[in-house]
């Protein structure tokens, strides 16, 4: 099976030429491809090409136990894996009618928000690098590493924690952990000023990002844009507040929005979200010591656990947008069907194809990165 043909053909007299962005290209996020046809430096046609990271998760999950799948799901979005675990757990808990202990819920929120900050730091780095600015990338990734250290301490894994199980979380926070989280947050809070100077208010960056890949509100709704990308268009929608899960209703946080809907607005929204996440985590740090109780609702022998037949649709707000799991059980030891709705599936395919057409070659990479698409969510 040959991927392409080498049989020479006559090219029609045309002024267009093709460029492949990816899969091996610094202008594309991860293993993903965008084929563009250009006239001069204006894109006249854009086609995404996905599947480079396809592992058939949904098929694999049908073949594994309910509990085994916990190890599988974080791999669907590598930069921000925690929402995947939580969302799957929420769906299964909903199916099995398990009540999650309150303390576990607070810890989940702590982990979710830490993961959001880490993902956003990673995003800034990538976005800065598309404009040729590597210093924020070096700083951002290094600062993210401090958060990964926290993950490691809490869960044992830097990236994939496999920490959230249906019913609760795996273990309690270690001693002194909350203090260390607090210190790290102080550090990152302090660093944000540097990032502002270096990156967010950098005149050249602002000039380059303004007006790139603009989505208006109607388009955003029509194209099912979610998450920060939606909020960058001035629409104040957030699954955490509109379709609340865990203990988010008890927390006090704002939903930052921007009006412009362009790459700059999308970046700034994420910048503001980091502050909100820090706020949330501070509340968790304050409240968590007073919340006692078990960490898990015990489930029957996990290796022979039959979840009652039914279906459940769970949604979680990840750093990319709305993550949703549609889980169907036929009462067996394994899920009958799991459908994963990654937010990037919308952003990286339909939205990107539409935004790319008519844009400049200079701005393609920026458009891709500002949407903060995560290709494995497309491919699954």
């Amino acid at each position: 099976m040959r991927p392409e043909n080498y049989q020479a053909v006559n090219h029609p007299p045309s002024h267009e030429f093709e460029l492949n962005f990816g899969p091996n290209h610094p202008g594309i996020e991860g293993n993903f491809a965008l084929k563009v046809k250009l006239q001069g430096d204006i894109v006249v046609e854009a086609r995404t090409d996905a599947g480079y990271l396809h592992r058939g998760f949904e098929k694999l999950m049908e073949d594994r136990l309910w509990i085994q799948n916990i190890a599988l799901v974080p791999r669907i979005c590598v930069p921000d894996p925690v929402p995947m675990e939580v969302c799957y757990s929420l769906a299964v808990e909903d199916l099995a009618n398990i009540e999650v202990p309150e303390r576990a819920q607070w810890i989940r929120v702590l982990q979710l928000e830490l993961s959001r900050i880490a993902a956003h730091l990673f995003f800034f780095g990538g976005h800065a690098a598309t404009t040729g600015m590597y210093t924020p990338m070096y700083w951002g990734v290094a600062d993210r590493d401090l958060l990964l250290d926290l993950f490691e301490e809490l869960t044992g894994g830097r990236i994939y924690s496999i920490y959230n199980l249906p019913g609760g979380v795996r273990q309690d926070v270690p001693e002194g952990f909350l203090q260390r989280v607090s210190d790290t947050l102080d550090y990152i809070d302090g660093r944000l000023k540097d990032y502002d100077n270096l990156f967010f208010t950098n005149q050249i960056f602002v000039k380059r990002a303004r007006g790139v890949g603009t989505i208006n509100q109607q388009q955003a709704l029509d194209w099912s844009v979610t998450g920060p990308n939606l909020r960058a268009c001035g629409l104040e929608f957030d699954v955490r507040r509109d379709d609340p899960y865990l203990i988010y209703p008890q927390l006090d946080f704002d939903i930052p929005t921007e009006q412009a809907g362009d790459a700059l607005a999308r970046t700034l929204v994420r910048r503001l979200e980091m502050v909100e996440s820090i706020r949330i985590i501070r509340q968790v740090i304050k409240a968590l010591p007073d919340i006692k109780g078990p960490l898990r609702t015990p489930i029957p022998n996990p290796l022979a656990w039959r979840v009652p037949a039914g279906e459940s649709y769970a949604r979680v707000e990840s750093s990319k947008g709305e993550v949703a799991y549609y889980v169907v059980s036929n009462g067996g030891e394994k899920p009958y069907r799991v459908h994963i709705r990654g937010p990037s599936a919308m952003h990286a395919v339909q939205v990107l194809e539409k935004l790319a057409v008519g844009s400049r070659l200079e701005d393609i990479a920026q458009t891709i990165f500002s949407l903060d698409a995560c290709p494995p969510e497309v491919d699954r």
Binding site: G27, M133, Y134, Y138, W139, N202, R208, R360
Partner: protein, 300 residues
């Protein structure tokens, strides 16, 4: 005869010296970047290792003869150009060319590179070259005004006499203290000619996958690395010769050369790159304005 022999010796020596200094300039650039990015950065001989490794590659993929010739021209053009740049004790053929010749000789490597990249039939490369030529058009205009101002001020186009004129009265007669506006405009042009951020439009990895370098591997890329060290050397020595009084001796000369480069390097890692037209707009606005003002002062 003796004079010719001496000149030939200098012509052989100067590229070697330039290459060694250039390697250290590359090292300084990478170290400075690392420091700004809170890293340690490469070891002292890293630039040399890179070049030796690239030349030592076993398979060398070429897209044709012009691809080869392009790299030869790119390296050779710089080897020739540095012999026109007087350094302490060695004038080379500086009195046989002058700045105008040097300016145009410095275009030979770009042309060679452009030809080589063109042969690769990769649009990334071609776009890179089109951007490189555009940025050349952008920064050469202020640069050429600066050259005009300096040549008028010293009423000579020969670098040897320009340097000699500057060294007469120490700092007071340096180009930078007599023509500060031109020196500033020249610094802009120098920065842009190095192709560092925010003027790095033609490498632009995220846009055109390092542009001209995209099909260059092995000794082709090695040639580009050699070229880069020559480029840094040529740019800084030219600036030092025009504005900082050239080199009285090797110590001050090297100090000046490296000091000149610190400014663009320190700026480079704090900014993203411009769009092409923004670069042209910037270069045609501020440096040109400064340089024209400078000329107005020089000519009165």
């Amino acid at each position: 005869m003796n004079e010719t022999f001496l000149t030939i010796t200098e012509v052989i020596m100067m590229p070697i010296v330039a290459f060694i200094i250039g390697l250290f300039m590359v090292l300084m650039m990478r170290k400075l970047a690392a420091r700004i990015q809170r890293r340690i950065g490469p070891g002292v001989f890293q630039p040399l290792y890179d070049i030796v490794k690239l030349y030592g590659k076993q398979t060398q993929i070429s897209h044709g003869l012009i691809h080869d010739i392009g790299i030869i021209m790119a390296v050779g053009g710089y080897v020739a150009a540095v012999t026109l740049l007087p350094v302490p004790g060695m004038n080379g053929i500086a009195d046989k060319g002058g700045i105008i010749t040097l300016t145009y000789l410095l275009m030979v490597p770009s042309l060679g590179l452009a030809l080589g990249v063109g042969q690769c039939a990769n649009p990334n490369g071609s776009i890179g070259i089109s951007r490189a030529l555009t940025s050349m058009l952008a920064y050469d205009i202020p640069f050429i005004i600066v050259i005009f101002g300096v040549a008028t001020h010293f009423s000579s186009t020969s670098l040897v006499s320009i340097i000699a004129a500057q060294q007469v009265g120490g700092f007071g007669t340096w180009g930078i203290s007599e023509m500060p506006l031109l020196a500033l405009a020249g610094l802009f042009a120098l920065h842009a000619s190095l192709g560092k951020h925010p003027f790095e439009i033609y490498v632009a990895p995220a846009e055109i996958a390092t542009g001209p370098m995209v099909e260059m591997g092995g000794k082709f890329l090695g040639g580009l690395f050699v070229m880069q060290s020559f480029q840094l050397y040529a740019a800084s020595v030219l600036y030092v010769s025009l504005f900082l009084g050239g080199g009285e001796n090797w110590v001050t000369f090297l100090l000046k050369c490296f000091a000149v480069l610190i400014i663009p390097f320190a700026i480079a890692y704090l900014f993203p790159r411009y769009r092409t037209e923004d670069l042209v707009r910037l270069m045609w606005k501020w440096p040109v304005m400064l340089a024209l003002l400078g000329i107005a002062f020089v000519m009165n």
